[in-house]
């Protein structure tokens, strides 16, 4: 397998995972804001902050309102972190890797892209936005499903797995950044009032509410939610579980000698986390550390298997 192909498949998976994550995040947040009173410190801008894109946003838009922010996050093709940009990048990467994947994989991504392109304007309206996001979420699920059912679980499949789980772990830590607001000493009484609902919302953003109920069997509270989302070995979107999946992929790929050790360190870091008595500041530190280490893991993967970082994949 060519190094360039490995790189393109890895990025295809990252961009598609990003597409799905943005869709889920916006969708859940929209539901939440319908329930919250106006003025609580959990507005739309938090979604921009998760992507560390506040500055870029204000360069393009005068006001941080629902209309501008959803446009920025979903359909703005001049912002590389938007859903549409991610989908476009996924499509370009798969277009040049068609020889390695089942035909339906290309068709699925192409179809999703055409759908998004034809419905960019519809998202200004809330009802249409819900339909748009649902369609994208379904499309991403179809893609995942058809690869797992149609494709040999070979090296190309493993590079897709690497990209997907690294992106997913990264997004989980970003969503937990949102949670750190809930731990702030200075948080308003109003926010404290809605706390349980907000923790549930974070679980929903990661499709984890039902699993949390079954697994934790106690009322929803901050410390338990954080531990569950970081450490649980069975929840597909927990950081721990993503790292396990990455480990499986890495160990089956050729020439992986230098990687398992790095990965073990990262897994150790995660397992040592205890969030039950953590303060906002401590949580921020933990998450920053995790994000840096995930970035480091990406660099190692790139150095080990890809052409030269950034040469082959298409943004």
């Amino acid at each position: 397998m060519l190094s360039r192909s490995a790189e393109r498949l890895y990025w295809l998976a990252r961009y598609l995972e990003r597409t799905e994550n943005i869709a889920r995040l916006v969708s859940v947040h929209m539901n939440l804001l319908m329930d919250l009173p106006k003025g609580v410190e959990m507005g739309w801008l938090q979604l921009v902050r998760i992507n560390a894109a506040e500055q870029i946003f204000y360069e393009k838009y005068p006001a941080a309102n629902e209309r501008n922010i959803t446009r920025f996050l979903l359909t703005d093709s001049s912002y590389t972190g938007s859903l549409f940009s991610s989908l476009l990048a996924a499509r370009e990467n798969i277009r040049t890797s068609r020889d390695l994947l089942p035909d339906e994989a290309w068709e699925q991504v192409n179809e999703m892209y055409l759908f998004a392109k034809n419905n960019l304007d519809s998202i200004a309206n809330r009802r249409n936005r819900v339909l748009f996001l649902n369609e994208i979420l379904k499309g991403c699920q179809r893609f995942t499903g058809l690869l797992s059912g149609y494709m040999s679980h070979n090296n190309p499949y493993r590079f897709i797995g690497l990209g997907k789980h690294l992106e997913r772990a990264d997004m989980t830590t970003r969503i937990l950044d949102l949670a750190s607001l809930l731990l702030a000493e200075s948080r308003s009484d109003e926010l404290r009032h809605y706390e349980t609902m907000l923790w549930m919302n974070i679980l929903k953003a990661l499709n984890a509410l039902l699993m949390y109920r079954q697994h934790v069997r106690s009322r929803v509270n901050g410390g338990d939610v954080l531990n569950f989302l970081l450490l649980d070995n069975n929840l597909p979107r927990s950081v721990g579980c993503c790292l396990n999946e990455i480990s499986v992929c890495i160990n089956k790929l050729p020439n992986h000698d230098s990687l398992p050790q790095q990965l073990l360190l990262l897994q150790q870091t995660v397992q040592d986390i205890d969030t039950r008595e953590t303060t906002q500041l401590q949580l921020r530190e933990i998450l920053d550390d995790l994000q840096n280490k995930l970035g480091g893991l990406h660099s190692q993967i790139a150095a080990n298997w890809f052409l030269r970082e950034g040469v082959a994949h298409i943004e």
């Binding site: 397998m1 060519l2 360039r4 068609r98 068709e107 052409l307």
Partner: protein
């Protein structure tokens, strides 16, 4: 209801399917019977089915434009073009003869130059050719074949004779569309293909692969072949990917390959470096190796010429083969056939005036309104003029262009190239077509059964290139005697 044949005119040129509006040629009788059994709605449905298939299969080509490069769906006409097998056997023989002579010529040009020494061609033609690569002098590719893949353009004139219009010996494209056209036709007219014996074409990727293996530098053990593409922004990227996939070989770009100190070529894989034996390159000579040719090329592979000259890798087509892909050299091919093979040419050339010759130049300048004039080294139908379709102003301007650089221009009489019924807005109209068969030469020589028929979709137009509004048709070679 009106017939799709309403007002079909066959007097414009030789029509490939019809004697007259009401009388099909012998080979096309079955097809016409079948078409007549369908009504307009049926035909429209088939056309839509074909378009859908093209979208689904993602058959596209890229058009360069100011607004970025766009992938366009491949324009396909569902009415096939038919050639009698008896005639085809003759054409096939003629194509093999022609490529064999051309390869003798290229070998000769890079060694003895006997053809020139014996006074068959002035040496200036070679010395002034921008596709003559002095770096190739003394090389001897395997089987002495330089042009392994050739796409020869054929046109039929009013007299019914098939002429060779040009030989594409650099990186000819179109074969994937030929293959996909048949796949689409099978989907659109399954009942028809069941009943008629059409020569199959789908063994081309196998033949191409076998040819590539036959030119490998070593013949022991496994041979690693790759297809080298300039990348997704090339107009033929779809074809590069398609052929690589069909042959089951890697599709590589320049930066996937590296030439190491041992002068061997390797590709970068996730398992480390893997040696490459044969490269089917779809990059022009100019961009192949920045060490030797254009220094600014980012598409090629540094050191590739070194590896090739050391005999460690085979390149198809060999660098320098383009010297025979020149419309001035073209005019000497009949003489090459006599000189190298001691045979008479089976396929005639279109009469060609060389502007490098004073008398011929004078004739061309005077008769430009009746002639087709083109640059000797361009492809894709760019930079040419069709006299009868040009304005007086355009002709005057072109005269100046020719006078500035006579060596690089040739002119030919404007042929009334043949037509075939083509579906235009629900009815059939005659449109001009050509034919590009593909010839492979390595240890053996192979010709595709038919080729890619290109059609000028615009009424009256003679330009069939896809970059300029051309489309294509499936091409059927049928045994006419059976009916």
């Amino acid at each position: 209801m009106k017939s799709i044949w309403e007002n079909y005119k066959t007097e414009v040129a030789y029509d490939e399917l019809m004697h007259s509006e009401f009388q099909p040629r012998q080979v096309s009788q079955r097809l016409c019977q079948y078409l007549n059994s369908l009504n307009k709605e049926d035909i429209e449905k088939r056309k839509i089915a074909a378009e859908l298939a093209i979208m689904e299969m993602g058959i596209s080509f890229t058009v360069y434009s100011d607004e970025g490069n766009i992938d366009r769906a491949w324009p396909f006409d569902i009415i096939p073009r038919i050639i009698d097998a008896k005639e085809w056997r003759m054409i096939e023989k003629g194509l093999k003869q022609r490529l064999t002579a051309l390869n003798c010529f290229i070998s000769d040009v890079y060694s003895e130059q006997a053809f020139i020494k014996d006074g068959k061609m002035p040496s200036e033609i070679i010395n002034s050719s921008k596709n003559f690569r002095k770096e190739c002098i003394g090389m001897q590719p395997r089987h002495n074949v330089w042009a392994n893949i050739c796409g020869t353009d054929l046109v039929r004139d009013k007299d019914g004779v098939m002429y060779v219009l040009e030989d594409n010996l650099r990186v000819p494209s179109g074969v994937s569309y030929m293959l996909e056209n048949r796949v689409i036709t099978k989907r659109v007219f399954p009942e028809l293909l069941q009943d008629i014996d059409i020569l199959p074409i789908d063994d081309y990727p196998t033949q191409l692969y076998d040819m590539l293996v036959s030119i490998a530098p070593h013949q022991n053990g496994q041979v690693t072949c790759v297809v080298l593409t300039p990348g997704i922004y090339n107009s033929a990227y779809f074809e590069h990917a398609y052929l690589a996939q069909q042959m089951g070989v890697q599709l590589v770009e320049g930066n996937d390959l590296v030439v190491k100190d041992d002068d061997c070529v390797y590709m970068r894989t996730i398992e480390g470096f893997e040696k490459v034996d044969v490269i089917y390159r779809r990059i022009d000579d100019d961009f192949l190796d920045p060490e030797v040719f254009r220094k600014d090329s980012t598409l090629g592979v540094k050191g590739l010429m070194r590896a090739w000259k050391a005999g460690n890798v085979a390149l198809a087509n060999a660098p320098g083969a383009g010297v025979a892909d020149d419309k001035v050299v073209y005019s000497y091919v009949p003489e090459m056939i006599r000189y190298y093979l001691h045979e008479e040419p089976i396929l005639p050339n279109v009469p060609t005036y060389l502007c490098s010759d004073k008398e011929q130049l004078a004739y061309v300048l005077e008769h430009l309104p009746e002639l087709v004039a083109k640059p000797a080294n361009e492809s894709g139908g760019y930079g040419m003029i069709v006299g009868p379709h040009a304005t007086a102003k355009e002709i005057a301007a072109f005269r100046e262009v020719i006078k500035k650089d006579p060596r690089n221009y040739i002119a030919q009489p404007t042929l009334a190239i043949s037509t075939a019924p083509t579906l235009c807005k629900g009815k059939l109209e005659p449109r001009h077509i050509d034919l590009r068969p593909f010839i492979l030469q390595g240890e053996d020589t192979f010709v595709t059964a038919g080729g890619l028929t290109r059609v000028a979709l615009k009424k009256g137009s003679l330009v069939v290139n896809s970059s300029q509004g051309g489309g294509s048709k499936d091409t059927w070679i049928i045994n006419g005697e059976e009916h």
